[in-house]
């Protein structure tokens, strides 16, 4: 993309999110969301093919609907309370509508249908931005209106998301769809704890974003978009296969890797609030997620040459892609469980 255009688009996208995060008037929140959405559309259609156009259209439609719902909720609140202030979304109708609007933006169940299809149609870099940066704005608004959200609604949505994120990813071989379902499941975990202790939502977000960035960076190194192309990696970049193994296990939430920390913290906060059956269900459903991550590692690293991989050997080109940030990201995504007491600074 033309560097000038790219910088313009990125600036708009970033400032859109920042406007959402720093606003105290519902109108500015809406403006920020719209700026963000319009700016990211060119990024989604970087490759000019019909699939990207379809993905961008689906993204636009859902996000525009959600923004309109957000505006409707704000105006309903205005009708009943007479002000536009974000912190005082007191009317339950407005609060429910706002929750639904924001969860539609996040891709939480039952509004998750757009996430796999949009993620699949766009290049890996845009997918990365979609699954990480775009979550920041809605989550910040949810964090701000947290006391007024209906817990039952949110818990239902999050349990459904974890279930759908688990079961939906089981039949996938396309890596971008797998990451999309992973995002749905992780959003479910984040939303479950929002009304109890939103600090843990933020913790989960702060750890989910590095893990997703790491995964996408590893995929971008060999431009792998399907499980099949990942299985060629043993020949070209053998060290990366090992890193994919531990990153996937970390995403799945296996101790002693980082991905376990948000799950542990969320379970702890929920049991402190006497909610015991739900975390049990959530963790058991997270096992489904772990299954398809493990399956990826099977074709990638655990069945390396010479015992067996049916994959043909590809022509080995010199690897010119930069891997500069990769060691730091890998370390963050897999090794910081012993640093769990640092969570105290989030209090």
């Amino acid at each position: 993309m033309n560097p000038l255009t790219l910088s313009l688009v990125l600036t708009t996208m970033i400032s859109g999110t920042l406007i959402v995060m720093t606003s105290s008037h519902w109108f500015m929140t809406w403006v920020g969301f719209e700026m963000n959405m319009l700016a990211i559309i060119p990024l989604l259609t970087k490759e000019h093919n019909p699939r990207s156009t379809e993905a961008a259209t689906k993204y636009f439609l859902t996000q525009a609907t959600a923004s309109m719902l957000l505006m409707m909720a704000a105006i309903t609140n205005l009708l009943y309370t007479g002000h536009w202030s974000i912190m005082k979304l007191i009317n339950p109708t407005a609060s429910t509508m706002m929750t639904m609007a924001l969860t539609m933006k996040l891709g939480l169940s039952p509004f998750h249908f757009w996430v796999p299809e949009v993620t699949q149609g766009i290049p890996l870099m845009s997918g990365l931005i979609l699954l990480t940066w775009q979550k920041l704005a809605p989550l910040s608004v949810l964090y701000m209106i947290m006391p007024l959200i209906n817990t039952n609604l949110l818990l239902t949505m999050s349990l459904m998301s974890i279930a759908i994120g688990g079961w939906g990813g089981l039949n996938q071989t396309q890596l971008r769809k797998i990451m999309a379902y992973s995002s749905i499941a992780h959003m479910g975990w984040m939303m479950a704890i929002l009304t109890y202790n939103p600090t843990m939502t933020l913790l989960n977000l702060y750890l989910y974003i590095p893990m997703t960035i790491t995964t996408f960076m590893l995929l971008m190194l060999s431009s792998a978009t399907t499980t099949t192309s990942l299985s060629h990696m043993w020949n070209k970049l053998p060290l990366i296969t090992m890193l994919i193994l531990i990153t996937m296990l970390s995403l799945g939430g296996l101790p002693p890797l980082t991905g376990f920390l948000p799950k542990w913290a969320i379970i702890q906060e929920m049991t402190k609030n006497n909610n015991i059956l739900l975390p049990t269900l959530m963790t058991l459903l997270a096992l489904l997620n772990l299954y398809f991550y493990t399956r990826i590692t099977y074709t990638t690293s655990l069945t390396m040459f010479p015992t067996m991989n049916n994959m043909k050997i590809k022509w080995q080109f010199k690897n010119l892609k930069q891997t500069m940030q990769l060691p730091l990201m890998i370390t963050i995504s897999t090794l910081i469980l012993p640093l769990a007491p640092i969570m105290m600074i989030l209090e």
Binding site: L245, L249, L254, P255, P256, L257, F260, W264, I267, Q268, T271, K272, I276, P279, T280, T283, L284, L287, L290, Y291, T294, Y298, S301, L302, T303, M304, T307, M308, L337
Partner: protein, 459 residues
Amino acid sequence: MLKIIIPTIMLIPLTWLSKSNMVWINSTIYSLVISMVCLPLMNQFCDNSLNLSMLFFSDSLSTPLLMLTTWLLPLMIIASQYHMNKESLARKKLYITMMILLQIFLIMTFSATELIMFYILFEATLVPTLIIITRWGGQTERLNAGIYFLFYTLAGSLPLLVALVYTQTTLGSLNMLLIQYLAEPTVHIWGDSLLWLAFMLAFMVKMPLYGLHLWLPKAHVEAPIAGSMVLAAILLKLGGYGMLRITAMLNPTINFMMYPFMMLSLWGMVMTSSICLRQTDLKSLIAYSSVSHMALVIMAILIQTPWSFMGATALMVAHGLTSSLLFCLANSNYERTHSRTMILARGLQTILPLMTAWWLLASLTNLALPPSINLIGELFVTVSMFSWSNFSIILLGINIVITALYTLYMLITTQRGKYTYHIHNIKPSYTRENTLMLLHLAPLLLLMIKPKIILGTMY
């Protein structure tokens, strides 16, 4: 405890920086040295534990298991030398690194003070084991075996996490030394039964209990020799160790919740022993015998008498050494014939007489011949089971007989009788293999002299 953990962590740079002809030697020697460093821990108080720091402690229950763990690492490395011969240097080092990583987690698990730390490390042992089984196993079935292993254990232990966190918020602390005083028996509500199940199922799956044992034959059979050794010797004992620690908290629910598991164990013990009589696969036979022995341990822990706890601990240590020894012997057959079928390598006494001696001793300890420590374990368990219920002696007696039957079947099929016609392919025993068997047998036979070490906290 750091004097054991830090050297074990340092084994990893040792492996990666060794020259190609020194890799096996270095790692074996230094892991043996570490197990020697572990020995002074045996110097235990008889009514208390060695509280070494805020995080780690060792008492008469964890010390024998810790010794078993550190003793087993050099043995695993010795056993793996043959099948790793053809791999590249980096792969050899990676394999040893996986074993060392597993060792680190196991040492920390057995010496953990806080139950949640125990849990995290308990789960952490799954990852290196999964990698060892799936990456270096022999047949395509190993993929399925790895998945079964991982998911059975995880599905059982995730409710344990929730239960532990819940108990921490209600009791205040999960320090193993404190919970025996903090947890008071109260009036029973049905939610207590669910909580009990959440606590126990994780360890039941790990042991394994008869109905939940499906992962074990797969994982043991498909794993390479080091994987089989560590699975049979240590990882199963993690379940027993966890149960022994947690039962301090579980009165009085355990008094009636134990009945289904007692029934499953009693029946499963006889069932799995009987299946051993019909096995053609040697490793599968040893795997099912592990299930049978561990069923005894489960029963002993559930009835919670002093004698049964002593028997459970002794049986765990004895079975660890015996089962690992049997797997090594089966592996020596596998290396020669590249098949696990028992009848393909029979009549070995005529060709490998020293190996027959090891087979004989292994079989004798497996069928709990007096005065071996296996007998001490089984005898204590049988006697305390008899005091719990007179009728259980029938099934226990049947099990002892069937154990003897399949062990002798295994011994006679592999060692006695006429040798096969493809016998000229079988190479003589390496010194390395004889060393391996002796290093397994020596503790087993020497512990006969002072079994107090392995009798655990109740002595």
